[in-house]
C-alpha cells in the first residue's frame, strides 16, 4: 500500500499541473480592463479646441445631462470608422458629445472635422496625452459614457452599431 502512494500522488500532481496549464493555454494573455465602472469624473485643466480658453472639468459636467466623452485624433484610422456613428448619435440630441483631441496637430484635426463633420458639442485639447490618462484611457479611440456625473461605461476601440444601440438604451 505504501509503495503505491508515491506513483499515484505523482500521477495526480502531473494531472493537476496538466489541467492548469491546459486551461491557461486557452486564456487570452491580452489584458482586457473592466468596462463597467462607476468612477468619478477626473479633475483636469484643458483648453477649448476652437476658442483656446481654459476649461476646468470640475463644474463643466452637469448632473442632469448625459455625456459621451470621445477620445479621437486625426491620425487615428479607427476614429474615421467610428465617426459616422458619432454623427448619428449627435442627431438624436439626447446626449452631449465631448471630444478630446489626443496628441494631434490642430490644423489636421480641423481638417478632419471639416471633412467628416463635427458631432461634438465641445472639443477639449490634450496635447501631451496626460488628460487621456486621467480618464484611464489606453489609446485612441476610446469613449466614456457619463450619466449623473459618474462614468458608467467605457468603450475601448472604435464605436460600432452595437455600442451605439447600447448607449441609446442607457440614455432613454
Amino acid at each position: 500500500m505504501k509503495k503505491k502512494i508515491l506513483p499515484i500522488s505523482i500521477i495526480l500532481i502531473f494531472g493537476l499541473i496538466f489541467i492548469v496549464f491546459y486551461k491557461g493555454l486557452q486564456d487570452s494573455n491580452i489584458y482586457t480592463p473592466d468596462a463597467n465602472i462607476k468612477n468619478d469624473i477626473p479633475i483636469f485643466n484643458t483648453k477649448d479646441f476652437y476658442s483656446d480658453e481654459t476649461i476646468n472639468s470640475f463644474g463643466f459636467f452637469k448632473v442632469d445631462k448625459n455625456y459621451l466623452l470621445n477620445i479621437w485624433s486625426s491620425w487615428c484610422v479607427p476614429c474615421r470608422q467610428e465617426h459616422k456613428f458619432l454623427m448619428v448619435l449627435n442627431e438624436e440630441n439626447k446626449i452631449n458629445l465631448i471630444g478630446l483631441n489626443y496628441k494631434d496637430n490642430k490644423k489636421k484635426a480641423k481638417k478632419f472635422l471639416d471633412e467628416l463633420g463635427n458631432p461634438y458639442n465641445k472639443v477639449f485639447v490634450d496635447l501631451d496625452g496626460t488628460i487621456a490618462i486621467e480618464w484611464g484611457a489606453y489609446g485612441v479611440p476610446e469613449s466614456y459614457l457619463i450619466l449623473n456625473n459618474k462614468i458608467v461605461k467605457k468603450y475601448i476601440g472604435p464605436l460600432n452599431q452595437k455600442s451605439i444601440d447600447e448607449i441609446k438604451l442607457f440614455i432613454k
Binding site: 494573455n29 491580452i30 489584458y31 480592463p33 473592466d34 496628441k103 501631451d128 496625452g129 496626460t130 487621456a132 490618462i133 486621467e134 480618464w135 484611464g136 489606453y138 489609446g139
Partner: protein, 120 residues
C-alpha cells in the same frame, strides 16, 4: 573675490544637481514598476509608445507636486487597476501568490524534519 564667487556658485549649484539626480532616480524606479498597458511585457520605462510617454510626463508632474512613490502607485492603480503595477501588494486576488511559497516552505520543512532530523 573671483575665487570666492566660483566657490559660491559651485556650492549653490551642487544641491540643485543633487536633487535633480534624486528625482531622476525616483522617476526611473517608479516607471520601471509600471506596466505599459498597450505594449504588454514591457515596463513604462522601457517603452516609447504614446501611452508610456504620456505616463512618464504624468509621473514627472506628480513627483514635482511632491507625491510619494506609494501615492503615485495608488494614483495609477485607481485609474487602471492592480494590473498596471509589476509589484502589486497583498489583496484578495494575490494573497495566494504571496502565501503559497511560505506555506510550501513550511510544509517542506515539516517533512524534512519528520523524515530525517527526527531519525538522527
Amino acid at each position: 573675490m573671483k575665487f570666492l564667487n566660483i566657490i559660491l556658485i559651485v556650492f549653490l549649484f551642487f544641491p540643485v544637481c543633487y536633487s535633480k539626480a534624486e528625482e531622476q532616480d525616483k522617476r526611473n524606479k517608479i516607471t520601471k514598476n509600471l506596466r505599459c498597458l498597450v505594449c504588454q511585457g514591457q515596463s513604462v520605462y522601457d517603452s516609447d509608445s504614446e501611452f508610456a510617454n504620456s505616463l512618464k510626463i504624468l509621473v514627472d508632474e506628480k513627483i514635482k507636486e511632491g507625491f510619494s512613490e506609494k501615492q503615485i502607485y495608488d494614483y495609477f492603480k485607481e485609474k487602471y487597476g492592480d494590473w498596471i503595477l509589476y509589484d502589486p501588494g497583498i489583496n484578495k486576488n494575490t494573497y495566494v501568490l504571496w502565501l503559497l511559497p511560505l506555506l510550501i516552505f513550511l510544509i517542506g520543512g515539516a517533512i524534512i524534519y519528520k523524515k530525517f532530523i527526527k531519525k538522527i
